[in-house]
């Protein structure tokens, strides 16, 4: 991604030490950095400065993070990446339902944060993810959406209809967290919201066929209790030409 000062990233966090390194790295990436130390200032900045993306810490002194998120979602669709100090699945599900686009548990390395930010920013450019492309190409795997075919290192893998729909949905949202609910609705319909055991079974079949390891995945990573994330790196056309 090229540096673009038109991309404004707002960090809402009360810890000056955390803001310091986020500022350094966001500026080094060539984006414009905005910051707020409390929820009220943060919400005001969201309205006045129209940030492209918001990084929101949950442990703010003046307001509960979920409250800030729901307030924001009433009038803004800006992607929100939430930072939380709790490793609590229930809370993560609640956050995603309240409209968070992704979350990161403290402590985290800066590369992880920037990678998540870039995935969310990439989603803002619709052509890339939504299927104007008929073929999605990643490191080690290629998916043809029209002909329902998958190549693993240039070898065709045969997948069932359900397995293919799971894989293609995850791959279309590459890098993004996809919740269990989203996957169930997409592949089984609205009435199967809570049948997470279906999902576990089909994902494990899919992993077996792709030769993927659940513990150290190269394609499908599990976010325990929350959902899945397709983690293979996208092969860009430019990279293709280089090789």
């Amino acid at each position: 991604m090229i540096p673009d000062p038109n991309i404004r990233i707002l960090v809402i966090d009360d810890e000056p030490q955390i803001r310091r390194f986020m500022r350094a790295s966001i500026i080094a990436e060539g984006f414009t950095y905005l910051e707020a130390a409390d929820a009220d200032t943060g919400i005001r900045l969201c309205a006045s400065a129209a940030p492209t993306l918001v990084i929101l810490d949950l442990g703010l002194p003046d307001k509960d993070g979920i409250e800030v998120l729901s307030n924001l979602r009433e009038w803004s669709a800006t992607p929100v990446l939430v930072l939380t100090a709790r490793d609590d699945e229930m809370q993560k599900v609640k956050l995603l339902e309240a409209g968070a686009n992704d979350y990161l548990t403290k402590p985290f390395g800066i590369r992880e944060l920037i990678a998540r930010v870039k995935v969310l920013l990439r989603d803002l450019v619709p052509a890339h993810t939504e299927s104007s492309l008929s073929t999605l190409e990643f490191e080690g795997i290629k998916i043809n959406l029209q002909e329902h075919q998958v190549w693993l290192n240039d070898k065709i893998v045969s997948l069932s209809k359900k397995e293919f729909s799971l894989l293609s949905f995850l791959a279309k949202h590459a890098g993004k967290l996809v919740t269990q609910k989203q996957l169930l609705r997409e592949c089984w319909g609205d009435t199967h919201d809570h049948d997470t055991h279906y999902l576990r079974i089909f994902i494990s079949h899919l992993r077996k066929k792709l030769g993927d390891d659940a513990v150290e995945p190269s394609f499908i990573a599990t976010e325990p209790g929350v959902g899945y994330r397709f983690i293979a790196a996208i092969k860009t056309p430019a990279e293709h030409n280089d090789q």
Partner: protein, 344 residues
């Protein structure tokens, strides 16, 4: 006090009996009197403990027998219906007492589980926050070193170091708190000068202009383990620094109290102070003004550790009334063998 609970049980029963007695005169059928007595047992069971409730149940049965069955005002019973009523009353009353007791104990357990989960939440926050800074600052430095100006690089490195210190201090307190909890604090004491010790602690804050010292001349020496007591004073002064406006003065005084034969050290800040009803709690382990992982407040370790250390030296920590801010008083007993001139 257990006997006040029995007294309360008797009182509630007496009130219920009088109400039943009066009502029965006018309108109440005898089934109503039983229900009013039953109510007395329920109220007793919910407000006191199991045995007072049992007393209330037995008393209620006797009251019913004595006042409300024929022949009146005697424990003699003739009517089979009334005998059955009394036995059922007794059974229901005993079951009620049992249920109310288990309800109360479950409520207590729930409260303790909540407390434990809050402590875990606060522990996780206090460990993760400095770690998040350290990892964040260092990984930023590693990833963007070439793009960052020298000043910024230095700042990132300094921040990582500062946070490492904070983490170290926190873990130190956590270890000390564990030792205090298990009474495993082992003291190796030596004779120390209070003024020197306080000066050493203040140096660690790196802002000497904030501290105004008033140390009495020829203060008696105290027999303490200096590393531990330094940690205790550091925690108390750190609290004063944290909860008062930036750059506001912090007054530290020390004098000898001949009446109690002890050395008093007072630390006064210009913060909001501690409301009187919270004062007994501030030195409790994990007590903090912070809520969960949000809001302003400490770790709930500092003052608890300070008090634990000072009590191990037979001293005390007290929150004193003070015209402004908060005044903490630390007292150490004076050992007359070390200080001949203070021998009484």
């Amino acid at each position: 006090m257990i006997w006040t609970q029995y007294l309360l049980a008797v009182l509630i029963l007496a009130v219920a009996t009088s109400i039943a007695f009066l009502l029965e005169k006018w309108l109440l059928p005898s089934a109503g009197t039983v229900l009013i007595l039953q109510l007395a047992v329920l109220v007793t069971a919910l407000t006191t403990r199991f045995w007072p409730a049992v007393l209330s149940a037995l008393g209620g049965a006797l009251v019913f027998n004595f006042f409300f069955t024929e022949p009146r005002f005697s424990f003699h019973m003739v009517d089979v219906d009334e005998i059955v009523t009394m036995l059922v009353f007794l059974m229901v009353a005993l079951i009620t007492s049992q249920l109310a007791t288990s309800f109360r104990s479950q409520k207590k357990e729930l409260h303790q589980a909540e407390l434990r989960s809050n402590i875990l939440l606060s522990l996780s926050h206090d460990l993760r926050t400095p770690l998040a800074s350290i990892i964040g600052n260092l990984s930023t430095l590693q990833t963007y070193q070439k793009k960052l100006p020298q000043l910024e690089q230095d700042e990132l490195l300094q921040a990582a170091l500062d946070e490492s210190d904070r983490l170290h201090h926190y873990i130190e307190n956590l270890l000390q708190a564990t030792r205090i909890q298990y009474s495993a604090l082992q003291l190796i004491t030596s004779v120390q000068n209070v003024e020197l010790l306080l000066t050493k602690v203040i140096e660690r804050f790196g802002q000497p202009q904030r501290f105004q010292m008033d140390i009495a001349d020829s203060l008696p020496l105290v027999d303490i383990q200096s590393s531990l007591v330094e940690q205790a004073f550091f925690n108390i002064i750190d609290n004063a620094v944290k909860f008062s406006p930036a750059a506001s003065p912090i007054y530290i005084s020390a004098n000898y109290d001949p009446r109690r034969n002890c050395v008093n050290i007072r630390i006064q800040d210009q913060g909001p102070g501690i409301p009187a009803h919270l004062r007994p709690q501030v030195t409790q382990l994990f007590f903090t003004s912070r809520q969960g992982d949000a809001g302003i407040g400490g770790t709930g370790l500092g003052l608890a550790v300070a008090e634990g250390i000072i009590q191990a030296h037979h001293g005390s920590v007290t929150v004193e009334d003070s015209p402004t801010g908060c005044t903490m008083r630390v007292s150490f007993p004076v050992n007359p063998d070390l200080n001949q001139e203070y021998k009484r």
